[in-house]
Symmetry: C4
Subunit: 254 residues, 4 copies
Amino acid sequence: MEDIFIDKIKEPKVKDVIFIEGLPGVGNVGKLAAEHLIDELKAKKFAEIYSKFFPPQVLVDDNGIIKMVNNELYFAKHNKTLKHDLIFLIGDYQGLTPEGQYDLSIKMLEMISDYGIKMIITLGGYGLGRMVDKPRVLGAVTESRMIKDMKKHGIVFQRGEPGSGIVGASGLLLGLGKIQNVDGVCLMGETSGYFADPKSAQEVLISLTKILDIKIDFSELEQKASQIDKITSQIRDIEPPKAKKSKDELHYIG
Amino acid sequence: MEDIFIDKIKEPKVKDVIFIEGLPGVGNVGKLAAEHLIDELKAKKFAEIYSKFFPPQVLVDDNGIIKMVNNELYFAKHNKTLKHDLIFLIGDYQGLTPEGQYDLSIKMLEMISDYGIKMIITLGGYGLGRMVDKPRVLGAVTESRMIKDMKKHGIVFQRGEPGSGIVGASGLLLGLGKIQNVDGVCLMGETSGYFADPKSAQEVLISLTKILDIKIDFSELEQKASQIDKITSQIRDIEPPKAKKSKDELHYIG
Amino acid sequence: MEDIFIDKIKEPKVKDVIFIEGLPGVGNVGKLAAEHLIDELKAKKFAEIYSKFFPPQVLVDDNGIIKMVNNELYFAKHNKTLKHDLIFLIGDYQGLTPEGQYDLSIKMLEMISDYGIKMIITLGGYGLGRMVDKPRVLGAVTESRMIKDMKKHGIVFQRGEPGSGIVGASGLLLGLGKIQNVDGVCLMGETSGYFADPKSAQEVLISLTKILDIKIDFSELEQKASQIDKITSQIRDIEPPKAKKSKDELHYIG
Amino acid sequence: MEDIFIDKIKEPKVKDVIFIEGLPGVGNVGKLAAEHLIDELKAKKFAEIYSKFFPPQVLVDDNGIIKMVNNELYFAKHNKTLKHDLIFLIGDYQGLTPEGQYDLSIKMLEMISDYGIKMIITLGGYGLGRMVDKPRVLGAVTESRMIKDMKKHGIVFQRGEPGSGIVGASGLLLGLGKIQNVDGVCLMGETSGYFADPKSAQEVLISLTKILDIKIDFSELEQKASQIDKITSQIRDIEPPKAKKSKDELHYIG
């Protein structure tokens, strides 16, 4: 086995694809969003990626069946309602080391380039370290001419955010794409960062579906979000207030 | 020397082997179990594995003789009472890095594949973080059709355990085997994880010998277990109770 | 992509260059100094260096445009006032690992050697862990015969400093150059190490311009320095004294 | 530059050498001992080893002259008083990573093997975590038949020590030598581990000179030791006793 081993299950007949990445990250926003869209579009798996850059472990499902840690590629062909061929990258983990991150992103781009890439859209969370009632979707692009369009789809471009850049596959795929003159955008849903955040994922998906000009059903994500809401409100009820706060403080925090 | 160097001492005449892994891990359960079975079956060492992925050190025995850190392969041929050819993998350490773990597991499987592998059985501990009176043996398999058989041998399949997957050689060997369509099972003995646990190792061995359909003597493991029992009960006697606990609490803990 | 990928934008017509390094480091002294000189001399970018040894991320500018993390090479040709051809190395990051540091420095030297290197000057900060009113510029050289000249330019050679050696590109480029008999000097501006220090950078530049025998304008650096001065004096005003200090103590600290 | 680059200054006319390693380690015992013997025997440097596995830095001497971090090989030819050809390995650092440690040790052995190796002697410290009045010299060997001889030279073989094995070049060189059937011994001087320990180094050298059957002058090491003694006794005087200790406790500690 090489450093990265691609097990191609089938050869998708796609071209000029929009490549959508949703690997695990802050609040698992990108992963939740991409997986939901894959389900809604009934996208098909066509490749499994194994690598020495992933953690040396297997996952065990609820029935006790093991599965190597991997990344997976799905595709959805254009049709009456879907205007573009799509390829999705999702998975259990990102590469563990900087070199691994680079090698995996380079390998993915190389492979997808064979079909022609029209655009790269990476999905992620933007951790705020505090609860967020109405998560916005922040954007970052490879070319300034893209911003106007993205703003139309409700994506926010705010001076100085994200200040620390975009770490991992969501950043690297765009950066490597830019060197090859492929347009790219990263959609980052605001999230506390404390738990998996389906509400933020939904906001990201709303923007993404506007870019793709499709309509999908969000009920499953909404259900997950309301479950999380219940849990967090229960936690708030259980947790006694540590100290009474003055109105000013509350205002500042809120 | 390459990254992994195999010093083959002899060429075992085995085929369609059951490959049993017992490298160090939680509670050293797998190591204790595999070493005991090697002793009982008088299995013979046929290869030593040295690697840059092991710690850069030598061990010193009680007489002051040094020994390079390594892994070792043993074999036992089938006979009147043993129905299968067996190969054992034991050792001082697992690979230090993720890449090292992958490379070592891949190399081992490659090498053993030359003899034909009927099944992979990996042995390990499942750390609970609390004392365990009667350790159960949890299982995870590569194929769902194996579960029924394993349950007959007393192996427990419990929804959601191990939740974090199986880390290291015990997981990787199964996962890599599965990709090559080799059946595999991991036997995990419950253990506190605080010290080497021969009692848990014995429970794992009881299940393993049922799978192999052999009978062995456990007296040496039982002796080790009773020594550990003495030490831990002494510790409990010395340690003063931190706070009186209500019956409910004790029930919950027990 | 190889471990290090050089995107050469143009081929500079330079020879017998003085190679000046100003990568990020303590107080960003070297980076601030080199970038200021690049601006003042209107040096031109001729190469971008991408590498798996940099962090796996992209930066996002104030407009939301992403940029791969990289290093960059600039050149300035000699003219009436500039006596030497110069090449500058600046960038977002240094290599993350020791191997990465070595590989990047070796690659840079190899590439610049094609033009002929007359001298290597590396710029950095020397962290004192306390506020510095008048930062001195410490020096270290590859050959003892260079010291007399450097002292003339106000560079201080003080027994036992820097005691811990010079870590990173500022050290490696000199060391690797020395093996190839290229003269080199490291200019280290004293700095607290607590924040980016334009005042220290200015002192380094004053020495550097004396070595290069040029005159440049420092107003922009001075402006930055006065901004920092304001902030730090404000912090001092806000922060209440933790405990009254005796004159002796103050003398010792001051 | 490869991972390890050897700059051979001259070709020593030696054969069947005794190879003595004294790289930095606990209490720098091995380094102090080897460097003292090199001085006493007027051994000559014949090679410098540079490597990406060393820290990416340069050292700066008291005059401000930089030097790449490296390892060095010295040799001493046999003569009237010296019965064997000797090769010494000393240096600023050991390899930073496990792989680096393996690669460096393998490379050194390969290179020295060209001259024929009669025996490998590695020198180190054995950290006790407390002050030692009369440091003993512990031994570990590759073959049990060597123990009797070593004991004659005052080297102590004590059951269970060193319990954690021998980490780094002092261990690896012996282990790798053993695989190639080269006899080896490690001499470990007891030391607190809190500072460079010339007294322990002297004890190691006393044993080593008995093995080599030579006599050397120790006055320089003794001088260093008495300097350290002065400093540590001053520290003891300055430091106020934290709590009065009962005689029993003192006995236990002493």
